[in-house]
Amino acid sequence: MASNEEILAGLAEIVNEETGLAPEAVELDKSFTEDLDIDSISMMTIVVNAEEKFGVRIPDEEVKNLKTVGDAVSFIAGAQAA
């Protein structure tokens, strides 16, 4: 199980690979769509890669609730603990 910091760092790496955004730009309070300018297709790619990296399942209906990077970190941490 990864700590929240490790999850954030892992997510930042995935976002960087998909969008080229600097990992430091991926902060907990940033919105995927509004702040990071990530479109729906990139979002699904990030979700798929996060599932693989963290060994969790993120259902389609959950993806729309992941508005900020913090939402995603909390969801992944919760799913790993479950």
Partner: protein
């Protein structure tokens, strides 16, 4: 009781694709054309889908017409006469008759009668399903030569004003002839379905709904006269025509995640590695799906990736043979090399195999 020994058809040990043909209809629809119908932009569509234009067929060109165009070229390239065909298979979801099949008419037009002829309904996996069947028919000796066609006129089943799928779609046909070979030219097919995602891509409603609406709205039935004015009937008529829809996010995710695994299984089943390939020819659904699959499969740069979607759009069952045809036109040196092809779509259904390019 003494039972006489039955004969079986002598089997062929190996099969390969002998020739390929294509038909691209000549109406070009640009992203600017699409933006008359949906609130979008050329840049948005290119970025999300990689599509720049699509080819669409005029009203007087049918699925069978396009299939015939592609089939004649495939037969000529294969050096096979239509009378030698032991089966004619058309993969399509847009032949507008539930019966009779497009394949029966196509066989007759080509001069293949009385070859067995049937359609496959496997949407964007239809061509790979056809290759699986053609390969099996020839190897078993049930047929010596099989024509496999993917042909679609998707422009008949779109609603230009909806945003999930219509703007991606184009028309066209691709065809191949499969026959016996000295060496293996078609690897094992990895194919399947997942009907739990039946709702992810498909038509807005069924033919039975159309019947119900027309009974209720065109003067109604004896029991239930229509209460609608002629203007209301016209509006309903447009709404009732079944058109395609998809849940884009679900499909994208399934395509990238599950289909990369299927593609890998097809490589494993054929006993080869990614760097043995000269080409990767996935169903042309969306450039972003293609890019992700290339990454997931870790394809080396030596593998040429088919990206016909930029000009052709998504042509469902026709997309893989159309993309293969173009790849061979632009890179004739790839002929004889190994290509990984994978189709996936409404059902959900999928199919993949490694083939030797004709």
């Amino acid at each position: 009781m003494s039972v006489p020994t039955l004969k079986q058809s002598p089997a062929n040990e190996h099969t390969r694709i002998l020739g390929i043909g294509a038909y691209r209809p000549d109406v070009i629809v640009t992203n600017d054309d699409v933006c008359q119908w949906i609130d979008s932009s050329d840049e948005w569509i290119r970025q999300r889908t990689g599509i720049i234009t699509r080819h669409r067929a005029p009203a007087d060109v049918s699925v069978i017409d396009m299939a015939e165009g592609a089939a004649r070229e495939a037969l000529a390239k294969a050096g096979i006469d239509a009378s030698q065909l032991g089966a004619v298979i058309v993969s399509t979801v847009t032949h507008p008759y539930a019966t009779p099949s497009a394949a029966a008419s196509l066989a007759d037009r080509l001069g293949a009668t009385p070859a067995p002829a049937f359609d496959i309904s496997a949407a964007c996996a239809g061509y790979c399903y056809g290759i699986a069947q053609g390969d099996a028919l020839v190897r078993s000796g049930t047929a010596q030569y099989v024509l496999v066609v993917g042909a679609e006129k998707l422009s008949d089943v779109i609603d230009n004003t909806e945003r999930t799928i219509s703007f991606l779609l184009g028309d066209g046909a691709g065809a191949v002839v499969i026959g016996p070979s000295e060496t293996t030219g078609i690897g094992p097919s990895v194919w399947g379905s997942d009907g739990s995602k039946w709702d992810a891509i498909g038509m807005t409603h069924s033919l039975l709904d159309v019947r119900e609406y027309s009974a209720a709205h065109h003067g109604g039935t004896a029991q239930q006269p229509s209460a609608l004015s002629s203007e209301e009937v016209a509006v309903t008529d447009a709404a009732i025509w079944p058109t395609l829809r998809q849940d884009g996010q679900t499909v994208f995710r399934w395509a990238v995640w599950e289909m990369a695994k299927v593609a890998q299984q097809a490589l494993d089943a054929a006993g080869i590695q990614a760097d043995d390939l000269v080409a990767f020819i996935p169903h042309q659904a969306n450039m972003r799906i293609i890019d992700e699959m290339v990454k997931k499969l870790k394809l080396p740069e030596t593998v040429t990736v088919a990206r016909d979607i930029a000009d052709a759009g998504n042509t469902s069952a026709a997309s893989i043979p159309l993309a293969t045809h173009r790849l061979l036109q632009e890179n004739p040196e790839l002929s004889g090399g190994l290509a990984l092809q994978i189709g996936f779509g409404a059902g959900l259904v999928f199919g993949a195999q490694v083939v030797v390019l004709p």
